[in-house]
């Protein structure tokens, strides 16, 4: 399976040099080729597995348990102002 490594890198926001792209492209393709073998298995009548553990989802009560930890949680942010995160301009 051929893979467009440039597109995958762009979607993942990873910058690649030409050398890296040339090296990673065939590697990714061969990994996908390996996984593709699963397509040969006859799965007719086999229910799809949603999760490796056959556990049902535990649910959370609708009760507020978290308070305001803004100061602590914003400490690692590169830049904040009046409690807001400051990021490079993004606009539609």
């Amino acid at each position: 399976m051929e893979i467009d490594v440039r597109k995958v890198a762009m979607l993942s926001r990873i910058r690649l040099t030409d050398d890296e792209a040339a090296e990673l492209g065939p590697q990714l393709s061969s990994i996908l080729g390996y996984v593709e073998q699963l397509g040969k298995v006859d799965t007719d009548g086999v229910p799809p597995t949603a999760h490796p553990h056959d556990a049902a989802m535990p649910l959370r009560a609708n009760v507020v348990t978290n308070g305001n930890r803004r100061e602590e949680l914003q400490a690692p942010a590169p830049k904040t102002e009046s409690g807001l995160y400051v990021v490079p301009k993004v606009i539609e």
Partner: protein
């Protein structure tokens, strides 16, 4: 040859839980920025989401109300894209197997019938944070209080054939959601947001290429945006061009849409199963219990008001717009059972009209249902006329004095004493000898003049029925 418009709608509706979809942070609106966040909704590494049980129940309730199928096992997936207000770099959503599938909403048609509009699915997902750009130069500001707030996305079939049908569907859905109590659905707060998929085709032909109109936050804008887009597409095709499949942003100030090309490449969302969440399983018993607790729906309530209280379909519609107003009406009728129609008239025209003028909500009404009933009882027992009651009602909106005290103070007590009414009539007759002669000479129409004069002389307090009766008698001479 004519064009056929094809519209499908996606509504993002905030589920009104106390806490977020996957963590114990508060969802309260209007808090200081970033004071309602935690490592889970900030997308810190190693944090595990745990789904809010009430968000599940409310989505199921909504599904049941649109006659949908509830999947007893549903799954969550990751929708991947990069944006600064999406801290995890993906949104947890339901892609492959949503909680709710199928269902429909019936909208009224112009010929008095109904049209059934299909609903494809309702899936659960989480909201992103809020980005702010206004007044900022090279930066944007991010508030993540909304990050992780639970949403349900209600996806319709492409069943609507005009902007009006789309609006009818949205209004019906909006009302239903408010009735169910599953969302505040406040459009100004972004709790009920709509994207529209729009295309045109020649009748009978396959669907044309569609565009997706985004960012429409009022019924009026949605109608404008759809109408604009339909004309734009027809013009392109009639000029020999082709419609490009794309997202477009509605600019409500300029009244036009523009392409969001920047979004196109990001449309590869690379959904994959959310490894942090096992399947969501609900039992048929749980679904049945939710169904048993379902409130009366708007359509049912409207029909009951028409049959049980003899209301016109218009009044029934006005009074059942919200659950609160329906409950208000029913407590009014309970306190003034003699005349449910009078209750409807007074509530719909006098009360709601005055509240609307004052920019107030029914919940802020200075007059309670019990107090309005006292006033209606005074009309019922002929203490005051309907006209005088409006004066009393004006005063009730401003003061907490008892209804009887206001009637007394304003001297509006209806005069039903025939002696007193006769005295007024004789006075009026003495003051208008020419009209008396005219009437007696056969000008029956002058009756109206006399009624008016007597009512005026009594400052509206004379019982109109008795005035008529006594005038006929006394004018005979």
């Amino acid at each position: 040859m004519s064009w056929e418009v094809v519209i499908g709608l996606e509504v993002h509706c905030q589920i009104n839980t106390d806490t977020k979809a996957f963590c114990g942070c508060s969802t309260e609106f209007g808090a200081e920025p970033n004071t309602q966040t935690c490592p889970v909704c900030l997308g810190m590494p190693g944090q595990l989401p745990v789904l809010n049980t009430v968000a599940v129940d409310k989505t199921i309730l909504t599904g049941l109300a649109i006659n949908a199928h509830i999947n007893l096992e549903s799954k969550f997936d990751r929708k991947n894209y990069f944006y600064p207000d999406l801290p995890k770099g993906y949104q947890i959503s339901q892609f492959a197997v949503p909680l709710v599938v199928g269902g429909y909403i019936d909208i009224p048609t112009k010929d008095g019938g109904e049209k059934r509009l299909g609903i494809t699915r309702i899936h659960m997902e989480e909201d992103a944070g809020k980005s702010m750009h206004e007044g900022l130069d090279a930066v944007s500001h991010i508030d993540l209080n909304r990050s992780g707030v639970p949403l349900m996305e209600i996806v319709s079939e492409p069943d609507m054939r005009s902007a009006d049908e789309a609006i009818a569907y949205l209004k019906q859905l909006h009302q239903l959601i408010r009735f169910l109590g599953v969302s505040g659905a406040d459009m100004e707060k972004g709790q009920f947001r709509c994207d529209a998929n729009i295309s045109v085709r020649r009748p009978g032909e396959p669907f044309g290429t569609r565009t997706e109109m985004k960012n429409m936050n009022s019924f009026r804008f949605i109608k404008q945006a759809i109408e604009f887009e339909v004309l734009r597409q027809i013009e392109i095709i009639e000029d020999g061009g082709e419609v490009v499949q794309e997202s477009r942003l509605w600019d409500s100030v300029k009244c036009e849409s523009r392409s969001m090309r920047s979004k196109e490449e990001a449309h590869d969302y690379r959904y994959f199963p959310e490894p942090d969440l096992p399947p969501l399983r609900v039992s048929q018993q749980e679904v049945d219990a939710i169904k048993a607790g379902m409130p009366e729906l708007p359509g049912q309530l409207r029909k009951r008001f028409e049959t049980e209280y003899g209301l016109s379909s218009y009044d029934a519609d006005v009074l059942t717009q919200t659950l609160e107003s329906a409950a208000w009406y029913e407590s009014l009728v309970a306190a003034h059972p003699a005349d449910p129609k009078r209750c409807a008239n007074w509530m719909a025209n006098e009360l709601l009209g005055r509240l609307n003028d004052a920019g107030k909500d029914l919940s802020e009404s200075p007059v309670s249902a019990a107090r309005l009933a006292e006033l209606l009882n005074r009309i019922g027992d002929n203490t005051i006329s309907g006209k005088a009651a409006k004066d009393v009602f004006d005063a009730m909106m401003e003061s907490t004095d008892s209804v009887d005290a206001i009637i007394e103070a304003k001297g509006l007590k209806q005069v039903s004493d025939s002696g007193a009414i006769d005295a007024i009539i004789l006075e009026v007759m003495a003051a208008n000898p020419a009209q008396v002669e005219g009437y007696r000479g056969g000008k029956d129409k002058l009756m109206g003049f006399f009624v008016g004069q007597v009512m005026k002389a009594s400052r509206g307090t004379a019982n109109p029925g008795m005035v008529n009766q006594r005038l006929l008698e006394l004018l005979k001479g």
